[in-house]
């Protein structure tokens, strides 16, 4: 292993720019003559728009234009789309209600977009907003998913008169029911997976620009996947054909999924740039982010687990109601279906699984993928019910899991997934060892002496990263392929530019991707630059989400590097006067096998471009190759997290005391960056378990729309993490790597709740387990202290 190659904890190349304030984010983009946009958001959860009077607002100082849904319709601008078709179990397609970027006739959630005001300054745009008069006819609202399907509930979209987007199912119902019929024990649980607000550090922003000389648009935007944004804006929304629309996602400050989607504001800004003949800039304020960024999670689930008399799992039966909000966001339909239910087998050998999912419309913000996207929800179900089953049958939760683990690979689950490689027992044993699991009883007694309740919780998660292959996801309803592209441009002096369709918004691709190139070509990582986020530079790409950039994005680079090496060997062959078949490439040097003749990579690059040693009929000059990589399978990272909490029964305050994480991410490129991803993910998972929750009141008002009312995890809420790794090579990509970006957020919530329920002695507590919730839960029973 070289100091900068695969496996080295290289410091992040991009961090100098970020920590010195030199990052260039969308809000740092300023175009000559630009105007500023502000959006009028609906204050009502559900209302008919009787009329909109913009006359007084239009007369305000500095106002360039005000547009409403009628203007978009007049220009035949299409609505926002959902790109994954789900069919109900009766075969009918999902019921997608129209989603115009600016409301037409009706608003459906607090924050829905009613008008865009464009003015010389942001202050003038906001002043003009005040003068728009909208006559709303307020309608009854439906907020909770469990109310949406009740007869007589307010109807969000006429196309779905019962508010059901789809009623989907997976697995074999009759086999599952048969297994339950012969079960010795059945464990049943009811769970709520709380709604979360993504809260990327950088809020969403857009600058739309129109070049009338070339009839071409440019959109600078906070996107995780600028090519997908261009595709949707071009093919479906109809802004301009792709060759006349450039989308640039410069530095992006976090996304967690929320910046995958194509939103109203970005659409309106780029469209309006041509209408007003000026660049149009918008940056969300934090309230807008709370209201109109796609939220995450929001599942209500009933689950049942059937066991035989030896504690072996026979079957799992799950029913989930998923709240998708007022409109179908870009990939929302896939999250509670194919990104959720296929993971319900967890790390366990479960012969039969059946899961039904009802997805519903409500008068709340759209819900879509958020760090983990379906897998945290699945892991919460399986890791809670396995824990409860172990407790109910008097088994040690670690032993119960060990007994039921998948132990041979590949393993075909009853719900699509084929786990290609893993060693779940190894991760469990290591986590038990690192967490000093065997002495938890002693620690419980010590806590009890202080008047505190200690609990321990295990979460043995599995997740599926790098969603693929394209043909398979296409058969499940995806509207896009899920491959990745790469282009390797070797310059004449031997420096390298990597153009990738992946997009870095905090993951450190400029470092890890350069490490791969450094390792392969034997050059310094300082001689490698990573180019991403610009549709004019990178031909096509699918972006970054679902922990796919290592497994899919870097694999595409490997393929392109293979071609570079093959071509460079031919160049070296001409230079060294040997057959290219006799050329070996190692540590940056080409040698003729069995001789001392050699030439380094940079010299070969120069020879490729000056083309003096070969003629153009035999070999093309230059050294530039591209590749597309479509994986053969998902990758399946898995691991075991163990959480220990200490609860003060007087106040209900839960302190996370110890955290052990043992993850199997396959081959690791940069252990420091991977560990950072694990830390961040756990922090978000602890946030979901203890602190965070988006709350709408019965009328559909978002009452957690600022940091006063929505609690994010802070340093004081988090423990020191003890992070370990196990390693099984992933057979489905050339590097053997899995994905690590979401693991912490997937593993953490059930670990925390399993620890809290262990401490309080019963299972009846929901997330977020705030001090008040824990205190109330403690009043339900007289908890027995371990010292008693």
């Amino acid at each position: 292993m070289s100091a900068t190659g695969i496996g080295a904890s290289v410091r992040r190349k991009e961090d100098f720019r970020f920590i010195t304030g030199k990052g260039q984010y969308t809000d740092d983009v300023n175009r000559f003559g630009q105007a500023h946009a502000a959006f009028l958001h609906s204050p009502h959860a559900h209302a008919e728009i009787v009329s909109i009077d913009t006359s007084a607002a239009s007369a305000m100082p500095g106002v360039a234009a005000i547009f409403t849904g009628a203007d978009l319709a007049a220009d035949k601008i299409g609505g926002l789309i959902c790109g994954w078709m789900i069919h109900s179990k009766d075969g009918t397609p999902m019921k997608a209600g129209a989603h115009p970027a600016l409301a037409q006739g009706k608003v459906r959630y607090v924050g829905d977009h009613v008008a865009i005001v464009i003015a010389d300054t942001l202050a003038e745009a906001k002043d003009a907003l005040e003068k728009i008069v909208v006559d709303y006819k307020v309608l009854p609202a439906v907020v909770a998913s469990m109310d949406a399907l009740k007869p007589g509930a307010p109807v969000v979209h006429d196309v779905a008169p019962d508010n059901a987007v789809y009623r989907w199912a997976i697995g074999n119902e009759s086999e599952t029911n048969a297994a339950f019929a012969k079960a010795a024990h059945v464990t049943k649980i009811d769970l709520v997976n709380n709604r979360l607000v993504p809260n990327a550090m950088e809020p969403r922003a857009a600058v739309g620009d129109y070049d009338s000389g070339n009839d071409a648009f440019t959109l600078y935007t906070t996107s995780q996947n600028p090519h997908v944004a261009r595709l949707v804006l071009s093919a479906f929304i109809g802004i301009a054909p792709e060759h006349k629309l450039r989308v640039i996602a410069p530095d992006v400050g976090g996304g967690f999924g929320s910046k995958i989607f194509i939103y109203a504001e970005e659409t309106a800004c780029v469209w309006a740039a041509k209408k007003v003949g000026r660049p149009v800039k918008w940056t969300a304020d934090r309230t807008e982010a709370f209201l109109a960024d796609a939220h995450g999670r929001d599942h209500v689930t009933h689950a049942e687990l059937a066991l035989d008399d030896k504690g072996k799992i026979l079957a799992l039966r799950v029913h989930t109601t998923a709240n998708l909000g007022a409109y179908l966001s870009t990939f929302s339909s896939s999250v509670p279906t194919y990104l959720y239910a296929p993971l319900l087998s967890g790390q366990y050998d479960i012969p039969a699984i059946y899961c039904e999912v009802d997805a519903v419309y409500t008068n709340t913000a759209p819900v879509d993928a958020y760090r983990g996207a379906g897998r945290p929800e699945a892991t919460f179900v399986i890791e809670r019910i396995v824990e409860v089953a172990a407790r109910e049958t008097g088994s040690d939760p670690a032993q119960f899991r060990r007994k039921n683990f998948v132990k041979t690979f590949p393993h075909q689950t009853p719900v699509i997934m084929c786990y290609d490689a893993g060693n779940y027992v190894a991760s469990l044993e290591k986590a038990l060892e690192m967490s000093d699991y065997r002495n938890v009883g002693k620690r419980k007694k010590e806590s009890a002496r202080k008047g505190l309740l200690r609990g321990i919780g295990i979460s043995a998660y599995i997740e599926a990263c790098g969603i693929a292959p394209s043909a398979a996801v296409g058969s499940l309803g995806a509207g896009v392929g899920l491959w990745e592209s790469a282009e390797v441009r070797v310059n004449p002096i031997g420096t390298v530019e990597i153009l990738t369709g992946s997009h870095s918004h905090g993951q450190g691709h400029e470092t890890t991707f350069a490490q791969l190139v450094s390792e392969r070509l034997g050059i310094s990582i300082d001689n490698v630059s990573i180019v991403h986020g610009d549709t004019d530079k990178v031909q096509m790409g699918m972006g970054t989400y679902g922990s796919r950039s290592g497994a899919v994005g870097m694999s595409a680079i490997v393929k392109a590097l293979d071609k570079i090496e093959a071509k460079a060997k031919r160049v070296a062959g001409y230079v060294l006067e040997a057959s290219h078949e006799d050329i070996e490439f190692k540590d940056g040097k080409f040698t003729v096998r069995g001789t001392d003749k050699e030439i380094d990579f940079a010299a070969v690059a120069l020879q490729a471009y000056i083309a003096h040693k070969f003629n153009g009929q035999d070999l093309e000059p230059g050294l530039k190759e591209s590749a597309f990589w479509d994986p053969t399978n998902f990758t399946f990272p898995a691991g075991v997290h163990i959480c220990e909490v200490e609860i003060d029964p007087a106040t209900g305050v839960t302190r996370v005391d110890r955290w052990t994480a043992v993850d199997d991410f396959g081959i690791v490129i940069n252990p420091m960056i991977v560990e950072g991803q694990v830390h961040g993910g756990i922090a978000q998972g602890i946030g979901q378990a203890l602190l965070e929750g988006a709350v709408y009141d019965a009328a559909g008002q978002l009452v957690t729309a600022s940091y006063m009312d929505y609690s994010m995890p802070r340093a004081q809420d988090l423990p020191n993490y003890h992070v370990g790794m196990t390693q099984t090579r992933c057979p489905s990509n050339p590097l053997g790597i899995k994905g690590c970006g979401e693991a912490g957020a997937i593993a953490a919530p059930p670990a925390v709740i399993n620890a809290i329920t262990d401490a309080i002695g019963h299972e009846n507590i929901a997330m977020p387990a705030t001090p008040q919730a824990v205190w109330r839960a403690l009043q339900q029973t007289a908890p027995k202290l371990a010292a008693e």
Partner: protein, 152 residues
């Protein structure tokens, strides 16, 4: 965001006198905290402009006030709703009833039951302040009203 309040105030005048003041736009205008204008559009309806501040959000609400369930001189229901532009909306009402005091005492007693509802930015930013502001606004109205009755 919905909230309810109730209370009672002792007033130093008889029911007929108080009833007259409850129907006098000038008195109501002087008593409603932040009321800029209150104009009668019929015997039982008014248009109003009210300035209201909840935490960081201040807004001018324009709307209507209606008097219903009139039962002179025993009580009525006063309700209103207003749009505050980007600040959101407020709506609410109060059932007001007048009763004679205990034997031998002077004046009358005014009982009120208020319910209020806000939405939009006021609810988003001021959620945990609204109860306090609503109670203070109601208290102030009835304190102002008691003072107006006292002043004759």
């Amino acid at each position: 965001m919905a909230m309810t309040m109730k209370g009672e105030v002792a007033l130093p005048a008889d029911r007929e006198t108080v009833w007259a003041k409850l129907n006098d736009p000038e008195v109501l205008k002087a008593c409603i905290p932040g009321c800029q204008t209150l104009e009668k559009t019929s015997e039982t309806s008014f248009t109003a402009v009210v300035k209201l501040k909840v935490g960081p959000v201040g807004a001018t609400f324009k709307g209507n006030v209606e008097l219903t369930d009139l039962d002179p001189p025993n009580g009525y229901r006063i309700s209103g709703q207003g749009e505050g532009g980007v600040a959101g909306f407020a709506k609410g009402g109060a059932t007001v009833s007048l009763t004679d005091p205990a034997e031998g005492a002077e004046g009358c007693t005014l009982n009120y039951n208020v319910e209020a509802n806000v939405g939009g930015k006021i609810a988003q930013l001021g959620a945990r302040l609204i109860d306090g502001v609503a109670k203070k606004t109601a208290d102030q109205f009835f304190a102002n009203f008691a003072a107006a009755v006292k002043a004759g």
